[in-house]
């Protein structure tokens, strides 16, 4: 997945003249971590593939064979629906994150000078604090007996405010938890942009919104798409948010996979679902790499 980045041509690229008088760190230094990944990362993934074609035997046991039955079971309208709902929710969450985050990134890049990095840091800090607690925090806020509910009921906008355990709550949760991941790349591409182009456009008579649409938006589109995929991909594998804010009334693919291992004990089926999820995601990962590479080439 190492995206091809053009290497600077020059004397350094030629192997004969590469000898530099700095310590060379031997290649075997990678061996401990390579071995670790081999055993504890690639090993489990390989076993996942083996299990997905194994046959369920008794309660939680399997017999090793080549049986595509689990994949045929995944190929079912019921699970199509779960996948479809998950992708739809992730897309909605992504759009909401863009709607919230793009103006903030724009504000930081366009209008701030002294407090620019502080503003950016303040967006990022929540991302470093516990995911679990932030999700729980939203649960308190959205509680049907909480202050927000009382406020909405008092204004008369709603007579019974109860977003908890609905898809709306999950959408808010997704946007809340992943916002920093979108703001960072969008901000980076706004920072690289040449603002004098916008000034030139307005000088030549373009209305501010036209200038934004034809210049700012177009130039930051690669960053925006990178950011969108950066939040969309993990949203698709989300487990904690639908569990806490959706109360499992709105299962994601992750929820269904987890249930196969914790409750139903049908490990081959759970493994097949996991592989299906990875296949679906790999499409978006490929798009992401294409855009990230393109942005690196044009933006830098």
């Amino acid at each position: 997945m190492g995206a091809p980045v053009p290497e600077p041509a020059g004397p350094a690229a030629s192997p004969r003249r590469r000898r530099s008088f700095a310590p060379r760190y031997p290649g075997w230094l990678t061996l401990p971590s390579f071995g670790y990944y081999l055993v504890f990362f690639l090993g489990p993934l390989a076993l996942l593939v083996v299990f997905s074609v194994a046959r369920q035997a008794g309660f939680g046991g399997v017999t090793y064979t080549f049986d595509t039955g689990s994949f045929r079971a995944v190929w079912d309208p019921l699970y199509f629906k779960v996948f479809w709902h998950t992708l739809l929710m992730a897309a909605a969450g992504t759009l909401l994150t863009i709607a919230i985050g793009y103006p903030v990134a724009y504000w930081m890049s366009r209008y701030l000078t002294t407090y620019k990095s502080l503003a950016l840091l303040l967006v990022v800090v929540p991302f470093w604090t516990s995911f679990l607690i932030r999700t729980y925090a939203l649960k308190i806020i959205l509680d049907s007996q909480g202050y927000l509910a009382q406020f909405f009921n008092w204004t008369g906008l709603t007579d019974h405010f109860a977003p908890l355990y609905t898809w709306q709550a999950i959408g808010i949760g997704l946007a809340y938890d992943y916002l920093p991941l979108l703001v960072l790349p969008v901000y980076a591409s706004l920072e690289r942009m040449d603002w004098s182009l916008v000034e030139a456009a307005t000088d030549l008579g373009a209305k501010p919104f036209t200038a934004f649409r034809q210049i700012t938006l177009r130039l930051t589109l690669p960053g925006l798409i990178t950011g969108a995929l950066l939040v969309f991909i993990p949203m698709t594998g989300e487990y904690v948010i639908p569990a806490i804010l959706g109360g499992n009334s709105f299962p994601f693919v992750g929820t269904v996979i987890g249930a196969q291992f914790l409750n139903a004990l049908n490990w081959p089926f759970g493994a097949a679902l996991s592989i299906a999820l990875m296949l679906v995601l790999s499409v978006f990962v490929v798009i992401y790499i294409a855009f990230a590479t393109r942005e690196e080439q044009f933006g830098a």
């Binding site: 008088f21 996942l48 103006p103 303040l122 929540p126 604090t129 679990l132 569990a243």
Partner: protein
């Protein structure tokens, strides 16, 4: 025209302030409600002694008490879960930092083609959904223990082994970004002046690399300490703090959860501040090349 621009700026500023409110208000509410009382407290009893089923509505403010913190810390289940979490997080930080730093040193100056397979694996560890890694590791550890005696059964040890995978990648990315960013000239000077490879590494490379190494260690501590998903599938009989909080969040309604959450926040915020101080010292936040490594670290968490 001038006037209008100010208006637009005000609009954006207003939106940004709203977003900051959206980001921070829930966290503040968690902390405040850690000091909340049940709706009605019988005269002469502690607010925390009220039966959870008679708690009433604790989503609104009923009065101040600080008893939930001692209530939480006197609960043996919670305390042992906290100890397990800290044990895992510390060991994870040590192992992941050692693995990641070694790999970063070698990879940064390796030939491009030679490092492609390694890079692919590293990006895979960051891209594969955590739920998939969790169930794959569950299958793996159960089978490994059944077939090879040295592998541990499901316990805090398996959680640790699984945590290290992601965090080694994280440390690797941070340290490598710093290493590539700092250039070779000082090392070359040291070499030129006759110090050997070990002396050069110890006296020049390592001290300059240290901020990134420490930042990687602190971040991997935080990620391990906060992790729910891997722990939930690999814990066996053991319990970690995020598992306790998750169970409480889903099934319980007492402010003791908020007290836990507040304490957990304090741990992570301390770690973040420490990371920030270290990074600032290393001037890592300065330029693009270095900032990208940190961005990747945050972004891919």
């Amino acid at each position: 025209m001038r006037r209008r621009r100010v208006g637009v700026k005000g609009l954006f500023t207003g939106w940004a302030l709203l977003v900051y409110l959206f980001l921070y208000l829930p966290i503040v509410v968690v902390v405040i409600f850690a000091f909340n009382q049940p709706t009605s407290v019988p005269h002469g009893t502690s607010p925390c002694a009220v039966d959870p089923t008679r708690m009433g509505n604790v989503s609104v403010w009923n009065g101040f008490t600080s008893c939930w913190f001692s209530d939480a810390l006197n609960n043996p289940t919670y305390v042992s879960a906290l100890k397990t979490s800290i044990k895992i997080a510390v060991l994870n930080a040590i192992i992941a930092t050692a693995l990641g730093t070694c790999a970063a040193l070698a990879l940064a100056r390796m030939h491009k083609r030679a490092r492609v397979p390694f890079d692919v694996i590293v990006y895979l560890t960051l891209v594969v959904p955590e739920i998939v890694i969790a169930v794959a590791s569950l299958i793996f550890f159960v089978q490994a223990h059944n077939n090879f005696a040295p592998f541990p059964t499901l316990s805090w040890r398996t959680i640790l082994l699984a945590h290290v995978v992601f965090n080694a990648s994280l440390v690797m990315l941070i340290v490598r970004a710093r290493f590539v960013g700092m250039g070779k000239s000082l090392e070359e000077a040291g070499f030129d002046l006759g110090s050997g490879p070990f002396a050069t590494f110890r006296q020049i490379t390592l001290p300059r690399l240290m901020p990134a190494v420490i930042a990687g260690a602190l971040l991997s501590f935080t990620f391990s300490f906060d992790d729910y998903l891997l722990s939930a599938f690999l814990n066996g009989p053991d319990n970690t703090w995020p598992l306790v909080v998750f169970a409480a969040v889903r099934f319980g309604v007492t402010p003791a959860i908020n007290a836990f959450a507040t304490m957990m926040l304090m741990v992570t915020v301390t770690m973040i501040v420490a990371t920030g101080v270290v990074l600032r010292r290393g001037r890592l936040q300065r330029a693009d090349g270095d900032g990208r490594g940190i961005g990747a670290a945050i972004g891919l968490g």
